[in-house]
Amino acid sequence: MESFFSRYKNALVLIVVLVAQLLALAVQVKRPAPGSPDQEGVSLVRYVVVSVITPPERWLHNAGLWVRGIWTGYFDLVYVRQEDAKLKAEIERLHLEQASLAEDARQGQRLTELLDFKQHYIYKTLPAQVIGASGTDQSQTVYIDKGLKDGLAPDMPVVTADGIVGRLRDVFDHKSLVLLVSDPTSGVGVVLEATRTRGILKGAPFGQVEVINVSPDDRIKPGQRILTSGGDQIFPRGLPVGTVERVMPDPDRDPLVDLVVEPAANLSRLEEVLVITDVGATPSRQAQKDLAASEAEGVEEQRRASDVLAERLPGRLDPKAPADTNPDPKVGETAGVSTADEVRLMTPPKPQRPDQYSPDAVLHASEMTPGQRRAPVLQGTEDIVPVKRTVSATATAEEERGASGEARKSAAVSGGSSGAAAPTTRTAGSGTVTGTSATGPTATTATRPKPVSAADGSTASGASKLAPSSAAGLGTTQTPHKTTVIVDGPLPAGHSAGASRSVDQSGAAPSAPVKKKSPEIVPDDGSRPPSVEKPAPKPKPAAQPAGDASTPPNGGR
């Protein structure tokens, strides 16, 4: 027996060693998930090896930094001043850019809040130095000089200013193992910025990075940016990942394609990284402060740019320029300085006849009233007297209907010509329409309430249909009253805009008859009266003043 062991000692040692390691491999492969932590024994072995290897690494790394610091801090300062100026200009440009993007960011935050999306903002990061790598191209891992004592924990994301790097896999007391995104066992949820196509970023052999199992899409082109989607619950969404380098078919899944990615961060030349130790649902205070500061600086920069632009504009008058036909006296008064050296504003000439297109002729929308008629409507004030009269009992039903119909139609009757017409009065201000059908002494008064829309608040836009006839002769009581007359239609020649017309309702003769077509009175609801009106009954000659003989019954129309 002894000779057997001594004879096959080497082979037996080999077999024992191989079997032991195979068993260890089998135990390790039984891990529930590829990203789950190692077992205790495995972690202990890793801890021992890392504790032995990393201190010399750290010493050598620090020694290298010291030498590099001496070189860069004392000897290689040739272009520092130019670079400083360039960086300052770059910072100003970035502040402006950030200010312009701030509003978009706020809008995006509002929208995400509306949609109840969970947005994760980076609260706190911890800078760390990369002190070593795995040493093989089969395992894409690096070591950093921060660990549990510095507040790190497994699965914390690691990024640089350029993009994501990886996540913490094993965390020791003063060092941590970072699993890079280029490792075949890593996985990051990503989304293409342009097409919003989602996928999983994994490492491929030879250090490549791929987005696997992507549905074929013609819109996916090389050069498109890839961002984190936040779906892996490790990386906050929106961090840059890289760009699409090329699209290649997936050898295992035929219709699907793989995207070869150029990582945004230089994974092969990592020096300093940031470990994201805390994320939250709202931007951090510092981020909000920075945002406000950059926004204020952007506004100030825009104001300076405006001043510079104003200084570059021509400031002297051209002596050959034509004189202003309507100079504005207010120009230069507010500043209290002479405007001789300033640009003189050209004021447009005043219109000879103002219309709705003239400046300030149209009210602001907030000052208008719905339903109010505008041009070409003239508003005037008219003194009218409500008519109270005794209704004869002999009035026939037909006459009542006719009178009511007349009142509802609101036939246009001018004050001067209404002597022969039926005395129908619509008191707009009170919201009461009083129609009086009068065929001689057997007149009927029809009254119905009606809402009236006010034209300008002071006077109602109702229409008045007056019977200037001799109300006194009929025994009616008259009280001086003011109503608003809105005249619709084209202006008669020689009639000034806005002129008001007063009609004496006390029985005095109206003015001379107007030969031209007189304006019509529109009802308070804004509707236009019918084009063909029923002629008013012919008044009695006795009740008509002499001066109104030639007045047409429809008011001179």
């Binding site: 195979l22 260890a24 070593g132 075949p184």
Partner: protein, 172 residues
């Protein structure tokens, strides 16, 4: 045969200072880790494998080379994210084969060292590929263009490293 270990001097078991068995592997692992961080192409080299081959062919003890190779491989595994034992198995096999061949052939010849290292690196990578691809079922590519180049580079560097380590050798 010139390639066979025929002389008494070649057959002698050569030894090194005890500290060298500890310092050299640690130093190699540190250099491998640091250098591949700054120079990504350096990951193509496998300095621990070169050291395992050297100690195996110079010590001419397959059992010691097997254990030494296994320990070196496990240490290398511990620095990576992969399970412990992948490199351990590979380097244990390489150590055993190199230790066995070291008794029979002349390992002082630089050409022989170059050829042996080339073959051992190819074998190491082949075992590694089989273990990772078929035992662990993890993605790993094999390139017939890349692997010979890698083996050749390792062999060239190995010859230089062997010459350096020969300086520390003490004959009994």
């Amino acid at each position: 045969m010139a390639l066979m270990a025929s002389t008494r001097r070649e057959v002698d078991e050569q030894s090194f200072p005890l500290a060298l068995y500890l310092v050299v592997p640690v130093l190699v692992l540190v250099i491998q880790s640091l250098a591949s961080k700054h120079f990504p192409l350096f990951a193509m080299l496998d300095l621990p494998l070169i050291v395992v081959i050297y100690f195996a062919i110079t010590r001419r003890s397959p059992a010691a080379a097997t254990i030494g190779g296994a320990l070196m491989g496990i240490a290398q595994d511990a620095l990576t994210g992969q399970p412990l034992g992948v490199f351990g198995i590979c380097k244990a096999v390489i150590g055993y084969v190199a230790g066995s061949l070291g008794v029979r052939i002349d390992t002082e010849n630089h050409g022989m060292r170059l050829l042996l290292t080339f073959l051992f690196v190819m074998l190491h990578n082949g075992i590694d590929w089989v273990l990772v691809r078929h035992l662990l079922a993890e993605p790993m590519a094999w390139s017939w263009m890349r692997e010979p180049i890698r083996a050749a580079v390792n062999a060239l560097v190995g010859v230089v490293v062997y010459a350096l380590l020969d300086l520390a050798k003490s004959r009994e």
